[in-house]
Amino acid sequence: MSEIVLSAQGLQKRFGKLIAVNNISFQIERGNVFGLLGPNGSGKSTTLGMLLSVLDPDGGTFQWFGENADAVQRRKIGTMLEGPNFYSYLSAYNNLKVNATIKEVPYSDIERVLRKVGLWERRNSRYRTFSTGMKQRLGIANALLGSPKLLILDEPTNGLDPQGIVEVRDLITEEAENGQTILLASHLLDEVEKVCTHLVVLQKGNLLYQGETASFIKGKKRVEISADDIDALRQALQDYPEIEKITQKDNMLLLEVKPDFQAQELNKFLSQKGITLNHLSIEKHALETQFLELTSKS
């Protein structure tokens, strides 16, 4: 039986009249790379804030590693919540020393994590002299300190340039490949799609989806096709069993197709009907499509 790392039931949080998180429940198993996905203001950071005891929930319960959440359990978790938070006047090394003292981790581990994020050479530089990317990497080093059982990263690529995004994403991917359990909160669909095995989708504090990323994407595919005679194409597609919905956009037909749809089969079918396609593409950003569809419904 797989080990449950986090189990949350009925979490709720209000800020005055605003319901920031509305009765959400989910669980994370060991080895999951778990995405918390939602647009800005959907309740991702509030949810993490409650789980990490910086916000008091108005309702619900949660357990870390099968036990009641307390400071001892949090020491087993490496976290970067809403960006890196460090003392500007302290060096990178001394900032990590603060966390190592809290987590009761030997100071020798600081070198390992600083080397991992490529900041060992800058260990004696003050935090305020770091670039945004370096600060973010130090935040990740801080989270990796003491080899935590779970890594929580909240918008880890926020404010980074493309190079920085790639560096941070590579770090996360490397950790995930090493079997690290990760909870990644992001509004960047591409990021979640590339890294996460499981996901929870939030909007306006409500849980819209929970499950495997593959199942979420697999549900539907979108295909764009076009031919010289668009009406004849549309007519011919009425008889094709793998299509669930057809919409026209300018000179293009957008098809919602079943999961086992095969492009070559459709092409063969249309050619038998005397229709030659001048455009056929399967949408690459399946998560984006599915996410937008889901959030627009709610």
């Binding site: 804030g49 990490l52 005891s53 910086v54 916000l55 008091d56 307390d70 400071a71 001892v72 949090r74 020491r75 978790i77 976290t79 919540l81 809403e82 938070n85 460090f86 003392y87 500007s88 006047y89 302290l90 001394n94 020393k97 603060v98 966390n99 003292t101 809290i102 987590k103 009761e104 801080n142």
Partner: protein, 264 residues
């Protein structure tokens, strides 16, 4: 406890602000003591150890505000840079953070007490206070009162820090509270149309009168003798000491409730 002390040690012994405020405190205490001795000499007052302790401790009390601001900055900057929040996330309890801040405050108070005590002994020997026949520790019992007084100013600063959570606003309120309380006292006296003791029960008045200036005490006694029917101008030192301890408890409990109740 050791872990919390180590944590505060890593954070503050590498802070420039820490050294600036400690340096200011030491320099200004020394300067004010030198001025006090100079003035005493000018008026022909011979200072022996028994009078030197209350005189110099009283002089040093006005510098407690630097210790108060230092501890206030240490709390508000943790809010500002979200490091307090990070500590919770990394595995401390709110209770741990609260204790750590009070341990830091206690260390600063002890430092202030030790520095003032040493400065009195050094000043005493340098002006020949031992020649009056008094030993260097005659009158040193006041240092205990001074310790309570420092804790009082610090507990008030900690309360403002947890209440306001902003360095700039905190310092302004803390500094302006002192004259504001005096003004409030005048207003209360004016509205009551008679001599009233109420302003003497205000926290700043209580803290500052835990250690009274011996010359002020003489003036008070003279005023009482001249007009025995009028109310006493200041509360007895013993009453101030007890009230000071009560205020420290109130400020500390208030700070804890504020910190515990609010989200980070």
């Amino acid at each position: 406890m050791k872990k919390l002390l180590r944590l505060e040690y890593i954070k503050y012994t590498r802070s420039t602000i820490f050294y600036i405020f400690i340096g200011l405190f030491m320099a200004l205490v020394a300067l004010s003591e030198i001025s006090s001795i100079y003035l005493s000499n000018k008026f022909g007052i011979k200072l022996g150890f028994a009078t030197l302790w209350p005189t110099l401790i009283n002089t040093a009390t006005s510098m407690n505000v630097f210790i108060g601001i230092l501890i206030m900055v240490s709390i508000t900057s943790e809010y500002q840079y979200r490091t307090m929040r990070q500590h919770i996330v990394d595995g401390l309890d709110k209770k741990d953070i609260f204790i750590a801040k009070h341990l830091y405050a206690l260390c600063l108070s002890l430092f202030a007490v030790v520095f003032v005590a040493l400065s009195v002994v050094v000043a005493g020997y340098s002006i020949g206070a031992s020649t009056t026949g008094a030993g260097p520790f005659d009158g040193s019992q006041l240092i205990g009162r001074y310790f309570v007084q420092v804790l009082g100013y610090i507990s008030m600063a900690i309360f403002f820090a947890f209440l306001l959570r902003s360095t700039a606003v905190g310092i302004i309120v803390y500094l302006f509270y002192m004259p504001l309380e005096s003004l409030l006292g005048v207003l209360v006296s004016y509205l009551s149309h008679k001599d009233t003791m109420i302003p003497q029960y205000f926290p700043k008045a209580v803290f500052s009168n835990i250690v009274t200036n011996p010359n002020m005490a003489k003036l008070v006694n003279a005023a009482k003798a001249a007009s025995p029917t009028k109310a006493t101008i200041v509360l007895p030192e013993q009453t101030n000491l007890i009230l000071g301890c009560v205020y420290i408890i109130i400020f500390t409990a208030g700070s804890y409730l504020l910190f515990k109740k609010r989200d980070l």
